[in-house]
Amino acid sequence: MTGRRPVGGDGRRGAPKLPQLLHGLLLPETYRDDQLGDLEEAFGERQRCLGRAAAVRWYWRQAIRSAAPAIALRLRAWGGARVHARAERKGSTSMGTTLQDLRYGLRSLIKSPGFAVVSVVTLALAIAVNSAIFSLVNVIVFSDLPMEDPATVVMFRANNPRLGVEDRSRAFSYPDYLDFREQSRSFEQLAAMASDHWVLSGSDEPMRVDGLRVTANFADAWRLTAAAGRTFLPEEDRPGAPRVALLSHGFWSRHFGARPEVIGSSIRLDGAEYTVVGVLSPKMEFANLAEIEVYLPMALDRANSSRDGRHISITGRLRPGVPVEEADREISIIASRLAQEYPTTNRGWEPAVLTARDSLLDDESETVVMLLVLTVGFVLLIACANVANMLLARATARGREMAVRAALGASRLRLVRQMLTESLVIAAGSAAIGLALSRALMGGLVWITAGRQPIFQMAVLDENVVAFTVVLSIAAPLVFGLIPAMRASAGGVGAALKEGGVRASGREGNRARSMLVGAQVALALMLMVVAGLMTRTVVALQQREMGFEPAGLLSLRLDLPENKYGDDGRVRQFFQAALDRVRGSPAVDGAALVSTRPAVDYGTIRVFEIEGRPQPEDAEPFTARTSLVSIGYFDLLRIPLVRGRVVAAEDTEASMPVAVIGREAAERYWPGEDPVGRRIRIGDARATDWIRVVGVVGDVRGPEDTEQPVPYVYFPFRQRPRSDMRLLVRGAGDAANLAAPVRSAIWGVDPDQPVDDVETMEQVLYDFASSSYALIALFTAFAAFALCMAAVGIYGVMSYAVSQRAGEISIRMALGAKAEQVRMMILGQGARLVVFGSAAGLLGAVLISRMLGSVVFGINALDPLTFLAVPAVLVTVGLLANYLPARRATRVNPIQALRAE
């Protein structure tokens, strides 16, 4: 097997959990341990001689084949108990009765297929969304973290409110890490990681591999052991140490066929030889670590790194007995000390220490997940209300049947149990369909997010999800079945059997149903408000000014291997040649290079100085998002020039360093002044030269979800060359068609150069926003479901009310009431439901919108449009659902209705 293994799938050697769980559920208590034990034992033997895959298949086959005998065993046990009990003259026991109820319930459901199908489908949909959302929660709460004893593993996050940086992990500088490590006492180990990538060459075609640079104590901090070979030794992260590498299990399997002799051999990364010393456990392929293929030691060299380069993440292991809050406090104190010592680079940055599990989700995502859980809970409640409604209607209709059974000696308890068993049968059917649907739903989410959100792919139907669904399908019938069951069995024998008695209890039943429908309307309204606010937020975010024209642009990544392009001259040369070639291609209208694409790339935020303006001690430093651009970039993206000039051919490595700034940077840092001609200096260790601002261009959207425009500073690529750039190309037709000519133009310069991430800019933007789209798709689907359920509920209750009042209506009409008046009377009755429900729902929605405050952008959480439109839609739909029965009311044939009385 060379495919990627599921997370944590190989660590356990035990029998597969799912069939074990399912089979265990079917087996009667008496034989459960014996049979599962037998299977486990035989499974172990098979696994040893035939391999895991064959053994798992065998286990599944055994479990499936044994299902029928297991049920037979169970039935026999009940039968035996019943015989036994009868012998003791105690009447039938619970299990025997259950079997009877089950048979009876199934039969009565088969007799009314319409009811059965509608209720099963309704519940199945609700269970499906609950299981799907639970499988997300499951990943977050219960998934195996890759590290040992994850409770004492912490991750660092950084906040910088002024820069709009929230909860970012890759936001520490190397010197900061060393200071934290030396000055803190809360941690057993503090390790650093930084993502990196290299070109792997040697055997096959050159390929780009994604990797992580880690300090040598990384494996110790997470208490990782190698799946093969060893992890890094303490001295291997010092400068000048021999070059060593670790492989991820997946990469080792995929690329090296899991051959053991790879360990000890050498691989060529960016042209340098590295000895593979080990393979990490497959558990490491977790969340965003899943894409990491190679791990290299991070060379520790304080002198060579600046505090400004914030690109590493920090993780650690707490000392035994130290709570995470204490560690957090200690780190904050050290950070404020650092901010005093190095104000230009460190002021404004606030670190936070979180446990590994908490760090899986930031606060904002946590709110969204909570909202989702709440929403699907509502959806389930609404579905339950609908089924309860149908059951109530049935209960009323079956009043006489129940009365007859009561007359024949059935106790009330017995009748309630009978009805609950029926509900359970409905729920069981729904759970099975719901599980299948939730799988499809997760597949849909992976599709909507184009596979960019690992959490959706990690969410699988494991035993936790199955168990959750089983619990739901047992709990739901208690919610929706109990009231109808109680009502159906109430009322005594005489009343129900009497002519017209059904009608009396029917009216009472209708009151309960009206309450349920009112509740449905309220819940639906809340869900619709949530969906409305989320949609408005996403629309507001998407409608923010782009500041550039993405249509028709193709984006490619060119990342030059360091060994081949070691010095700036060669980098410049390659990119210049590539640009010339690409521009020369007939399909291409224009091309440019950029390091940080607008709207999607985070790039680097840098601190800078302004000449003649000393940095005040207590004020925030001047910061901006920086990007390197080639000549023609602003024209290509149609970013307007506001004043001065853009990057031009005269800006070479030999000429004076220049910068072009965005309008926001100009207005924020030079308010009321002309920045053109002023000089700035980048606050890093190498900064010596002053850089002259030569122009101001229009603002472009930043990658963050903020309403404020982001200050940008652009430098000419020629003056600060970099080996990892994006090439943007515009052509006449569809941007996707440019890929082939552009690739061949680049390979004309260097046939070994990997060309990655070839996508149209519109695709890039879509992928970037895909999780938001998935969210609004979810919320909108839930709201639509809730609205339909509420409409069906209203329709059901009003139709029933009309049929109940047929006699009254015919008398009214016989006495001269006009059709219109009758219609209004019925509409009025229904409108009360809708209005009271909506009022209650609005109240709830206001409460929920407070929770939404942190995720809503660009609009008020009490957005008037949403809060007006949603009730309007709901009331319209509600009245429509009400109108049909009202119209039918006037078509009542008075003679017939009165005869029936």
Partner: protein, 112 residues
């Protein structure tokens, strides 16, 4: 003799396998014995179902053994042949013998 007192075909197979295994007879071993001797791949569930029936008839008796780690800490259930079981097997064998006596299934005995 009531109908229930005859052994079913599968019951007979299980009972024979159990008798052969003596004190080592438990679900999975019986399943394996049947597979080894007859080439029939049977589900462990069916074996337990048959054993349950046989125990109800008093042909076999079970006791629970000690849990072992390779069974995920679960106990084994061992089965022993009871006297009534042995009698039933013996009777089945005699019945077979009586029915087979003097019978040859040559080519003349069935339709071609």
């Amino acid at each position: 003799m009531a109908k229930g007192e005859f052994l079913g075909e599968f019951e007979e197979v299980v009972l024979l396998a159990l008798a052969r295994l003596k004190e080592r007879a438990y679900g999975m071993a019986i399943r394996q014995e049947i597979e080894d001797r007859t080439g029939r791949d049977v589900g462990v569930g069916s074996v337990y179902s048959a054993l349950d029936r046989l125990e109800r008839k008093g042909y076999v008796r079970s006791r629970v053994g000690h849990p072992t780690p390779e069974r995920g800490g679960r106990a084994k259930r061992y089965y022993r042949l009871e006297r009534r079981g042995a009698v039933a097997l013996q009777r089945a064998r005699e019945m077979h013998a009586g029915l087979w006596k003097g019978l040859e299934l040559g080519p003349e005995s069935y339709r071609r």
